[in-house]
Assembly symmetry: C2
Homo-oligomer: 233 residues x 2
């Protein structure tokens, strides 16, 4: 723990814990911080990156470093969509549609949905923003036959509600997979981050009654924004 960047980390943590900074607040510029810690930007950034990896700080690309708020708690075993989960934790949510179109299912989607190669599926790309910070890049692959006209509907709200209310289809079981990965080029901009930022990925397959897979989703979360918790009964 004698490394300089470790000492800087502790100093920053101390200041945050003392309440000098509050969630979502921007830190002083790198040059200022480096000077005040008596070091160079390279070493300062080593400390900041490490705090980012710990989920204590996050960065908005080219905008600066910010204090991470508490993560949203999510239970993959629950049948609730993010909308209800996030609202129940008194956080604000807005959803931005990136793109939605019919396309050839990729390997993963084919396998999850039990489709033959070259089958077309509805692909919806969206970004969810919590408390004014974009934190999830969500991709939904949906079997097209069951959902005629889906692409013409308002896709900026809960898809689960849409399936249920407009198509009378409700997920009754699901599989999921969780792993650590990172943000790729296409997702970086809408998440205000840069390629390579740590992400927690949640993949889910939704089955309707009759054990028919109708939706496969991949959600890329900024890793400090979510915590998985499940209470099995």
């Amino acid at each position: 723990m004698t490394a300089k960047y470790q000492e800087i980390k502790e100093l920053i943590i101390e200041q945050v814990d003392q309440g000098q900074f509050s969630a979502h607040q921007r830190l002083p510029s790198e040059r200022l911080l480096a000077e005040s810690f008596g070091t160079t930007r390279v070493t300062l950034r080593e400390a900041l990156s490490s705090l980012e990896a710990e989920g204590r700080l996050y960065r908005e690309v080219r905008r600066g470093w910010f204090i991470s708020p508490l993560p949203v708690v999510y239970d993959p075993n629950s049948r609730l969509g993010y909308e209800k989960v996030i609202e129940s934790q008194n956080r604000s949510l807005s959803t931005l549609l990136i793109k939605a179109k019919l396309e050839l299912a990729n390997t993963k989607a084919c396998r999850a949905l039990g489709l033959k190669a070259f089958t077309k599926v509805i692909a919806i790309h969206r970004v969810h923003t919590i408390d004014n910070r974009p934190v999830v890049y969500a991709i939904n692959y949906i079997t097209s036959e069951l959902f005629p006209g889906l692409l013409k509907r308002d896709l900026s709200h809960s898809l689960i509600d849409l399936y249920k209310e407009q198509y009378n289809i409700e997920g009754v079981t699901q599989n999921y997979s969780i792993y650590a990965s990172n943000i790729d080029h296409d997702m970086a901009n809408p998440l205000h981050t840069k390629q390579g930022t740590q992400a927690l990925v949640i993949e889910k397959t939704n089955f309707s009654e009759g054990n028919c897979a109708f939706e496969f989703s991949i959600d890329y979360w900024r890793h400090d924004a979510i915590r998985i918790e499940s209470y099995i009964i």
Copy 2:
């Protein structure tokens, strides 16, 4: 994607995918790589760190950079211990006992186990090594009254088996929590890594029949070594 370190990443990925390197194999030294890519160590390390964050490479502290093997797949909803899960995936496992003693339960353990403050619990720290690579630092907190003499037993094998065979106690339900964090000072050495390395943390509470919490565990996984998958029926 014009950044130099991004190009280097792609070159390395290419070589790995072409089979130039196999799992657990060590890359050439940083100085050699930097020279062969026509750059400095700083930029080269930027590329390597990014590949580490993606789970494609891992490092052994002061020993070098290695190719990540496929992750172990783990289902937190299953009642199996790591031992059986890992063996079923044809990976070798060995367990090293770091320390085991009776100690005051910390806040987390108290809450999970429903204990009053200042209650003593059995705390067991172990490191699990998969295919000769240490990848999990596991801490188990166990209520002491139910397990007399536990500290004198062989703690280098499955605790679940021990509970069942020696104390006739079997977990029937559990809660769990999963989040991204990183490796702290004390865990760094036994994991052959350095403080700050990304980790995926799995916390679990085990309940016996009668809904009595008897074990709380926190497992710090090197993030590239595990993938959570669950199939709910």
